[in-house]
């Protein structure tokens, strides 16, 4: 049975079967990545455009590596400014790229909804690599893959996601995806960094870190953008650290096998203490490794590969 979706725009509304298929396929590719020859021929002849309107070294490299290991031809198209400043509309840009005969587009953009917009402009397969405050589905998939790898299951596990929830597309994709997989998600941050109206995310929120991590199997810390202080979301880095930094003391209050995750890049000493980030519970680098496998799986399943 193949995947039922044509594009990966987000995890909102994606079925449990599709998520499971993507995770299972990612596990297979993880095995491939352990081999000496890490390349498979499955997408040979396919051209994948990495259309990045927002700076992102690691996500772009991860996708590019995934494409190369599937024998696809990656084409990198990075623009730091949005199309508005560039003088060409996004529709014109994608039409021009499409005219060069491409098969898939991996897109990151600061505006929510751009991946969907692209599906209305082109016949190419669209993969969302992060759109505004909306979704970052491959990140959530690699998070779930990592949890399943380490804890053997997803169903029934509690995940606390902590930090700047308001601006986090990672939190949104995980809230939807993990809920679909039967996990209990709680979102936590200062009230100024939580959305005021969150019912549509379908998960509870709290501003109390201890309440959030109580009974958690997984603690996921989010990066705090320092600009948020200037915009008045919290008073000082010190106060934020005192209230929301995940440190050894908090780690020791949890069961021994709790997983500590972070989508990166880490602000050491702000949201995550260094000794926790580098400690035995941390699976942060495993997340990065799994990112390549997950992206291979997504590109493979959407790119016309047979379920293997």
């Amino acid at each position: 049975m193949g995947i039922s979706i044509q594009h990966l725009l987000g995890l909102d509304g994606i079925s449990r079967e599709d998520i499971t298929l993507m995770l299972d396929t990612a596990d297979s590719f993880y095995e491939v990545l352990q081999r000496e020859i890490k390349v498979v021929p499955t997408l040979r002849g396919k051209t994948v455009v990495n259309l990045f309107y927002e700076d992102s070294t690691r996500t772009r490299i991860s996708f590019e590596l995934a494409e190369k290991r599937l024998s696809a031809s990656p084409l990198n198209f990075s623009v730091s400014n949005s199309s508005v400043n560039k003088g060409e509309t996004l529709r014109d840009t994608i039409k021009n790229i499409e005219a060069m005969k491409i098969d898939m587009v991996v897109v990151r953009h600061s505006c929510a909804g751009v991946p969907y917009f692209l599906t209305q402009c082109t016949d190419a397969v669209i993969v969302n690599a992060g759109d505004g405050l909306h979704e970052h589905p491959t990140q959530a998939l690699l998070d779930m893959m990592t949890i399943r790898q380490k804890l053997g299951r997803l169903e029934g596990l509690k995940v606390a996601i902590i930090g700047d929830i308001f601006h986090s597309r990672v939190a949104r994709s995980n809230a939807w995806g993990m809920s679909t997989m039967g996990m209990k998600v709680v979102l936590c941050g200062p009230p100024t960094l939580l959305p005021q109206h969150y019912e549509s995310l379908g998960v509870p929120m709290t501003d109390d870190l201890n309440e959030a991590i109580d009974g958690a199997d997984v603690v996921m810390m989010l990066r705090l953008q320092r600009e948020r202080q200037a915009s008045g979301a919290f008073p000082t880095i010190r106060e934020y650290r005192n209230r929301y930094c995940f440190d050894l003391e908090k780690l020791f209050s949890l069961p021994e096998n709790v997983l500590v995750m972070h989508p990166g890049p880490i602000n050491r000493g702000i949201e995550l203490a260094s000794d926790v980030a580098d400690g035995n519970n941390s699976v942060i680098l495993q997340q990065v490794t799994n990112g390549v496998a997950v992206r291979m799986a997504v590109l493979y399943l959407l790119g016309g590969g047979e379920n293997g």
Binding site: S83, R91, C111, G113, E135, R169, S200
Partner: protein, 446 residues
């Protein structure tokens, strides 16, 4: 079905000669000011109403006649909030195309907002707009700027603009942010018996937002414009009006809280009127669906709770006026990323159909009340001297086919722009004829 442009008849309004006699036969005449709601004949001559009578007098027996059987014959509708983009953005709309759209929508007059390029902030620019509107199908009344360049810093020459023909002042598109400037504007405008039209928005809260802040904005990941961004400034401007005794008109009310604030202020005797737009009556934020930029406007579509409160406000006359906030944009400003898309939707050619469909046919507004909101009140607020069919009044008349079913198809619009929020919507009722100064300026061919 609305027919394509070549099928309908427009005439240019030639005011150099008096209009010939015209008889509108057998329509249901709805004239709330004169408490008329019955089938009658409306006689016009020399551009004025001769009378509303049961039998056509012998002297008009051979005059040109319009058969209005089964239709409503009402005082000419007025849309007191439109953006016609001239001068400056004639690629979006011109006074000529905008007034054609107005006539096709049943509007015998429009008031155009001053956020053109350059802004209508001096006498000469007001005169320019009036001059460009001469001989256009519908009448055009310019609104002057409150502050020079709409910058919110120094008062524009309000007296000179009123002398030149401005019927109100507004910095529409933004609020006058500084409260002392707004206080001065209200106080100063008292000399001229004009309303100050308030666009209410606290941009410190709204500036990064693109749609209503709520469950839906969180869901689709678009930053929100909270209801309080509007309500805080509505409350401020109501307090300023109460304190100064000046007359204000709250533009495009979109929230339940604003309706409540206006209702309470009216009960206290504050000299305030208010308007809403058809899209706040018919649509909510969730209708944006998957980032439909043609449903992006400012203030944004709100929740169903707000929509219900706005409707109740129109019904109980807390909201005096329905106006379209007709805001034309070219495709390249709309066919883009949602957050990059321009705010605003057109409305001149759908306004009447939407209000008929969503309010009148649902029993939420009587035909008499509809005529009050769309003709009587805007006439009174802007001091246009119309809104009734009394003998000697200007013969500005709208003939409405209230039941005709049609589907909105932007390709058939007379407006230069296509950015409607109602594309594909099935509506019931439209203007079948529009008469300005006793001349049929628009006649819909069915």
């Amino acid at each position: 079905m609305v027919k394509k442009r070549e099928n309908d008849a427009f005439i240019r309004c030639d005011n150099s000669r008096p209009a010939p006699p015209l008889v509108i036969r057998q329509g249901r005449v709805i004239d709330p000011v004169n408490s008329i709601d019955r089938v009658a004949q409306v006689i016009c001559t020399e551009g004025k109403i001769f009378g509303v009578v049961d039998e056509v007098p012998a002297e008009f027996a051979d005059a040109p006649a319009i058969d209005a059987a089964g239709k409503w014959v009402v005082p000419g509708l007025v849309d007191m909030h439109v953006h016609l983009r001239e001068p400056g953005r004639e690629d979006k709309e011109t006074i000529a195309t905008g007034t054609r759209a107005a006539a096709a929508g049943g509007f015998t007059a429009v008031a155009c907002m001053p956020n053109t390029q350059p802004a209508l902030d001096e006498e000469s620019k007001i005169r320019y707009v009036i001059q460009r509107g001469e001989n256009c199908p519908s009448r055009i009344y310019p609104v002057g700027a409150i502050t020079k360049g709409l910058e919110g810093e120094e008062l524009a020459p309000i007296g000179e603009m009123v002398h030149a023909g401005a019927r109100a002042v507004s910095d529409d598109g933004k609020s006058v942010a500084r409260t002392n400037i707004m206080r001065n504007a209200l106080n100063y405008s008292k000399s001229f018996n004009i309303p100050v039209i308030c666009h209410c928005e606290d941009t410190a809260i709204s500036q990064k937002g693109h749609i209503n802040e709520g469950v839906f904005s969180t869901h689709i990941g678009i930053r929100g414009i909270p209801t309080i961004a509007e309500e805080i400034v509505v409350a401020r401007d109501l307090l300023l009006a109460e304190y100064t005794g000046a007359r204000i008109h709250i533009a495009h009310v979109s929230t339940a809280g604003s309706v409540r604030l206006v209702r309470e202020a009216k009960a206290r005797g504050v000299n305030v009127t208010a308007e809403t737009c058809p899209h706040y009556v018919a649509l909510i934020d969730e209708d944006i669906g998957r980032y439909d930029t043609n449903k992006k406007m400012n203030p944004p579509l709100r929740t169903d709770r707000d929509r219900t409160a706005v409707i109740a406000g129109v019904t109980d006359n807390t909201i005096d006026v329905v106006a379209s906030d007709h805001a034309p944009h070219v495709p390249e400003e709309k066919d883009v990323e949602f957050e990059a898309a321009a705010f605003g939707v057109i409305g001149l050619e759908t306004s009447l159909g939407v209000i008929l469909t969503f309010m009148v046919h649902k029993g939420l507004l009587s035909p008499l009340q509809m005529v009050e909101r769309m003709s009587v009140a805007p006439n009174r607020i802007l001091g246009l001297g119309g809104g009734f069919l009394s003998r000697g009044a200007c013969a500005d008349i709208t003939i409405i086919d209230p039941q005709a079913p049609w589907s909105v198809d932007a390709r058939n619009f007379y407006s230069k722009s296509r950015n409607t929020a109602f594309e594909g919507m099935k509506l019931q009722g439209y203007a079948s004829g529009t008469i300005v100064g006793g001349r049929a300026v628009f006649n819909r061919k069915v």
